[in-house]
Amino acid sequence: MSLLRVSVWRGGASGGFQTYEVPRLESQTVLDVVTYIQRSLDPTLSYRFACRVGVCGSCAMSVNGKARWPCRTHVAGVAEDNRIEIAPLSNLPVIKDLVTDMSRFFDKWAQAKGQFYGTRTRADDFARVLPESRQRQAVDAAIECIGCGVCYSACDVVTWNPAYLGPAALNRAWTLINDVRDTARAARLAAVAGDAGCHACHTHMSCTERCPKNLVPTASIAGLKRAVAAAALKGEL
């Protein structure tokens, strides 16, 4: 039986990597490795997880430098020379070990007006949303985001520009811009425009590269750029 040498970040903003030896098993995931460390080697290790099957996004962390879901990452797919490095997500303050403070991530979601605003009541008729319409297809392509933070962690513009809203918040805003029932279009376009908004995206596409649900925030942000430019030129911004 071979042993994995696993480097895990311990501490807060300052700290260091601690190495653990974990028995290597067939079909083992990186989350299995972290769980083994915490249960059998070092109960002081802090980390988040919930579903452990790739539907909740809670376990998002950095494995060998790349933001991903350890529950969906096979050790065999990432371990080179029986070594793995596990660290908390980038671009977020570290609370302890592998746990980050995601407040700013969600605050930016709100700043981008990433919530639905409607005016219909139960007394009104149902809204009609045609599934084949161009707008609904744009929404469908981007709606599956569960706010795991991987894209935000992967984005270098978030690192270089602290005010940048980030791919997830902007992606959500795009789905709402295309939602025919939403009534806050003008305010939302204003919220996502400018140096801290969609215009700061340089199409690095790290978000798209890393999204565990294969979403394309880059495309959503490009859509926002077009929508905002059109509004600005029409004097609506």
């Binding site: 997500l89 980038s90 270098d156 690192t159 596409m205 880059t218 490009a222 077009r226």
Partner: protein, 115 residues
């Protein structure tokens, strides 16, 4: 935690680096380029004094480099305009390869003519 090259090691990111680096270098080069051409204001001899430098192999090499930078920045920029303004399609991923190829063609054509 900060992202390092492991997170950045993918084609679209290299394209960004090439685009930013070429843009910066071209911005640094342009004032010099405008000054050199402005020498024509002082007559043909003044311009010739400068143009004679272009006979040196090192200068020809630098010129080829500049052509590559300009072609790379332009083709990379056209790629960005397509990514931002056209509806998203799968073939856009190949734009990077096309941009890189086109720059190299331009650079090669220049090098072959100048040598």
């Amino acid at each position: 935690m900060k992202n390092d090259f492991r997170a950045r090691n993918h084609p679209a990111y290299w394209a960004f680096i090439a685009h930013r680096a070429s843009g910066l270098l071209l911005t640094l080069f342009l004032p010099f380029h405008f000054w050199a051409l402005g020498q024509a204001l002082h007559g043909a001899e003044a311009l010739d004094g400068f143009l004679r430098w272009t006979d040196y192999p090192l200068v020809k090499f630098a010129e080829t480099g500049l052509v590559l930078l300009l072609a790379a920045h332009m083709t990379g920029g056209v790629r960005l305009l397509m990514l931002e303004f056209l509806a998203w399609r799968d073939w856009q991923k190949n734009l990077l390869a096309i941009a890189a190829g086109a720059s190299l063609v331009a650079g090669l054509a220049f090098a072959l003519n100048v040598v």
